[in-house]
Each structure stands twice: as C-alpha cells, then as structure tokens.
Symmetry: C2
DNA sequence: TACACCATGTAAGGTGTTACATGATTTG
DNA sequence: CAAATCATGTAACACCTTACATGGTGTA
C-alpha cells in the first residue's frame, strides 16, 4: 500500500521541495485528509531516493545551512500516474474516538452526555470556521475554472472537508436536541 | 492512548463475551467507526486480564471446544467510566486515500476523473444502502426512547454513519457535476 | 463428509508517534 | 540577543495488518 509514498510523490510532482516543506504541506492543505510527521517523512524520502523515484540536490542556504531539494524522476511520475488510476476497494471506515464514547452513552447521565456533546460541538465549530476561512482565501487568490489543475484539486478536497465537518456538527446538534428534550 | 482497551472494556461491560464475539462486534455495529482484527484482540484481552480490568471463565461448548468468556471487573468499570468523561483534544483528521487521489486531480484527464469518481460513488452508494437497512432493522426491533441506553448508543452512531456517507456521496456528485460540465 | 463457521493464539513486518539530538537563520 | 522558525536525522515504542498455525462444531 505505502500510501505515504504516493502522498510524497504527488507533492514533489507539483513542485520540487525539501522534507521540511513536505512536513509543512501536511500541516496545511493536505491536513484535511492526510498528515505525517517529519520523523516518518525523512526515512521515506531516503527510501524513495534509493528506488530512483525521486532525486535530490543539496542547496546551501545562507552560510552553511544545507537543504535537500527533492525532484520527481520519470520513473516516479510513471508510478504516480499508475497509482492514481487504480481501482481499489473501499477503505475500512476511519476510527472515531468520539463516536466510540457516544456508542457507550449508557455510561453517562443526561448532564454528562450534554457536556460531552457540547464540548465536541464547540471544537468542531472552531475547526469548521478555520476551513471556511481557508476556502475564502482560496477563492480569492486562485482560479479554479480549469478542472485539470492543482487549484481545482485544492478546491475539491477543501470543499469535502467543509461538508464533512458541517455534517458532523449537524449530527452533534441532532443528538443534543434529542437528549435535551428527553425526560430522563 | 490504548483506545482498543476502551472499545473492548465498553463491549464487555455491555455483556460478557469471548474474543470471537468481540471480533464479530467490530465487524457489525461498531464497524461504522471502529474495527480490530482478532490478532489484535486476543493479546489485548490477555493484557486487560493481567491488569485486573477483566476476568474470564472457561466454558466448554459441546464435547471439547473451550471458550473464554470475559467479564468486566469493578476496577475495569471504574476505568471505563473515567475514560468516557474525559475531555480530549480533537483527533487529527482521518486519512482518506480517495481524497489523496482527488487532491492530485491534475494527473488525470476528464474521462479518467469521471471514471474514478463514478466508481467511488457506486461503492459509497452501496455502503449507504447497507447502513440504511441496518437502521430500518434497528428501528423495527429496538426501543430508542430512553437516551441512557445501549439502544440509543447504537442508534446515534448508526445515524452518524448514514449522515457521513450521504455527505460523501453529495460531495462526489458535486465534483462529478462540475467536471462533467467543464469544457476541458 | 465436506463446508461454513466457531474459537484461540503467535510471528513477522509495516505504519505511525513521541522523544532524543543537533545545528543554522531570521525577526523582533 | 532571545525566540521562533528552518532544517535534518535517529531510536524506542505503540499500533495495526497479514500470514501462519491449530483444532472443534453444526448443517446440508
């Protein structure tokens, strides 16, 4: 599977970058559906280099600071193109710790349920606001009219993230509503 | 964090079960937000037993087949209750391989995009139908009027899963719509 | 009597997190 | 000049999957 491999190849294909840049990308745009720490990224870059899917050039920044700027190879592009067209079975549903707690709702009393759901709601609303700001920024600065473009890719995943968070919020509100109205 | 620990404690708290039963539960109801293989469950059961959070009784089924039926202890109940009330920061967004592909949309042509999104749509629609059938069954056989009950827990997580899948489908349709209408 | 299902476990390896470790550059 | 950020790496450990390994029970 090696999914991190393709996440990295895809990003480096967009434009050459360092391991540090990749880490930052995973914290920004991709953060709404993928993430990885630098401790996982650096070894993977080493592996991809050994497999001749990427190459690097050492660039000196300032006096001494060495950066490794990675570029995708033809072989890397081929593998990436091949992966993107693959038809794979649906992944198992992602794990959700809050829903695990919600499932065992019988362990809480009414007040405790309302407290837990309200706290989750506040966190999700905050997250949704951040995503919405990112979307506003994207629409202001980028042209998404061409569907075969990086910008359109950025747009659809952000759109998906906003829709997902909004639905999670709707679900939380619905649960809260039922609980609040119950006589228990 | 040992989340599997609490998933198992919660299930055994509902009623005593074997490792095999737990595995089956993770494939059914909980499947919409949690899962684990038996190879992970058996070692965890051993660990929880050593920690005195659960105990087991060996039951002979038929002539020789030995089953270990696990029961939660008072200590286990306390830990579970304590965990369920905890306030933890939002988990990082779950990884989504399809969205990773969608993000790198610039690597596909219009036909390929439509093919990939249509295939995903078909799989998600099938999954949604299964979830809806499960909900129909649940509403027919269980009483969810008491919010402090296992049945209500079953209901809300299933409801959440249906909403999540419906939104994913809406997103896929919206993407397909934009792509289909594009002149590219 | 074969096949599906019940039942429990271990081993090897891949994936991911936290912590350890070090040093340079930029900005207030 | 201190703090934030840039930059790269390794080690230990936790988590999770795939495959290996074994045997019993129910049913068509």
């Amino acid at each position: 599977m090696r999914k991190l491999k393709y996440a990295i190849l895809g990003l480096i294909n967009r434009k050459p970058m360092t391991g540090y840049d990749l880490t930052a990308e995973f914290d920004k745009a991709l953060g709404s559906f993928w993430h990885a720490k630098h401790s996982q990224i650096y070894p993977e870059l080493k592996k991809l280099t050994e497999e001749n899917l990427i190459t690097y050039e050492t660039v000196i920044h300032g006096e001494k600071l060495e950066k490794k700027v990675y570029t995708i190879t033809e072989k890397g592009k081929q593998e990436l193109k091949n992966w993107i067209l693959r038809d794979e079975p649906l992944e198992p549903t992602p794990k959700d710790v809050f829903k695990l707690r919600a499932y065992f709702i019988e362990l809480m009393n009414k007040e405790e349920i309302i407290l837990q759901f309200s706290r989750q709601l506040a966190k999700r609303q905050k997250k949704l606001e951040i995503l919405k700001s990112a979307m506003e920024e994207l629409l202001k600065t980028k042209d998404i009219s061409n569907v075969i473009s990086e910008e359109f890719g950025d747009y659809i995943v952000l759109k998906g993230a906003i829709m997902r968070e909004q639905t999670y919020i709707d679900w939380l509100k619905e649960c809260l509503d039922i609980v609040a109205k119950s006589s228990e």
